[in-house]
């Protein structure tokens, strides 16, 4: 029933599920960045798996490399924002970020 690619796809689905759960449930700003990282790792694995199945591995690697660069920049900016929020408001809790309310 399950070949080895199906097994890897289940792992990818697991990564997506964990990342989505964390994105919805976690309140810590740094952990939200962790959740985004987990989601993107699932996407990278999915790209490479698709390239493997279709025989376009080099193209899949090129696209996944772009995703890795974008993901790293998201982490850099997200963590810098978290540090700024902590310095200015004294907390990392997204529920406490009330300064944006009108």
């Amino acid at each position: 029933m399950f070949n080895e690619m199906n097994v890897l796809m289940l792992g990818i689905l697991g990564l997506f599920a964990v990342g989505l759960y964390a994105l919805l449930a976690v309140r810590n700003l740094i952990k939200i960045v962790v959740a985004l990282q987990i989601l993107v790792k699932g996407a990278i694995m999915a790209f490479i798996l698709a390239g493997k199945i279709n025989g376009h591995m080099q193209t899949a690697q090129s696209v996944a490399l772009t995703v890795i660069v974008a993901d790293t920049m998201v982490a850099v900016i997200g963590l810098a924002l978290a540090v700024q929020v902590k310095r200015r408001l004294g907390t990392l809790d997204v529920n406490e970020l009330t300064s944006l309310r009108g």
């Binding site: 199906n6 959740a35 493997k52 591995m57």
Partner: protein, 199 residues
């Protein structure tokens, strides 16, 4: 190979779960690094060797250093168990997402005779520099934008320190002026006292 893939898939999900449920942020960052390392192993097994190296160095190395740096500045902060969205709603959303995606994707992953071991005539470098040159330019723009944004975000944080240092320097200057004034006053008093004595 089948067993290795099962172990890798289980390991990557286990590390991701531990990264999410870890109480301490530092432990969470380290479990995320473990997730990246196992993802790199999966990529290597699938034949994406160049990307596996990049994922290992960037995902498990650079990003982990960034997390540790940010955590060392921001500090650990415990959060309660309460979530923004009620947990049943979160679980339902995740299960619906899994069902829809799995139902769409899993039946279509079928073995293609010889398809998985196709040798492409193009190398990774050739595809990246020749066929995907727009991606390369996009990556350069993203790196520059990310670095500039991070510097811009961190610059206001350094401004109060600069103001504080300037204030300290001004304070030292005032103290020096005060000390000089005190010395002049003392010398004047001493001269006046000497004059009185002489008188």
């Amino acid at each position: 190979m089948y067993l290795i893939n099962i172990l890798l898939a289980a390991g990557v999900v286990y590390c991701a779960v531990r990264a999410v449920i870890a109480k301490r942020l530092l432990a969470s960052a380290l479990w995320l690094a473990g997730t990246s390392a196992i993802v790199a192993m999966v990529l290597y097994n699938l034949g994406a060797r160049e990307l596996a190296v990049i994922e290992l160095s960037v995902g498990a190395g650079l990003v982990t250093i960034l997390f540790v740096f940010a955590i060392s500045i921001a500090g650990e902060e415990g959060m309660g168990e309460r979530t923004n969205i009620p947990r049943p709603v979160v679980w339902i959303a995740v299960l619906v997402f899994l069902f829809l995606l799995g139902e769409q994707v899993l039946p279509h992953i079928i073995p293609i005779p010889g398809g998985w071991d196709l040798e492409s005539p193009f190398t990774f470098a050739l595809v990246l520099w020749e066929r995907r040159s727009l991606d390369v330019m996009l990556q350069i723009v993203m790196i520059v934008a990310g670095v500039v944004s991070a510097l811009g975000l961190l610059a206001p944080a350094m401004a109060p320190q600069a103001v504080k240092k300037a204030g300290q320097a001004a304070g030292h200057k005032n103290v020096a002026q005060t000390a000089a004034g005190d010395t002049a006053e003392n010398s004047r008093r001493t001269t006046a006292a000497a004059g009185e004595v002489q008188g």
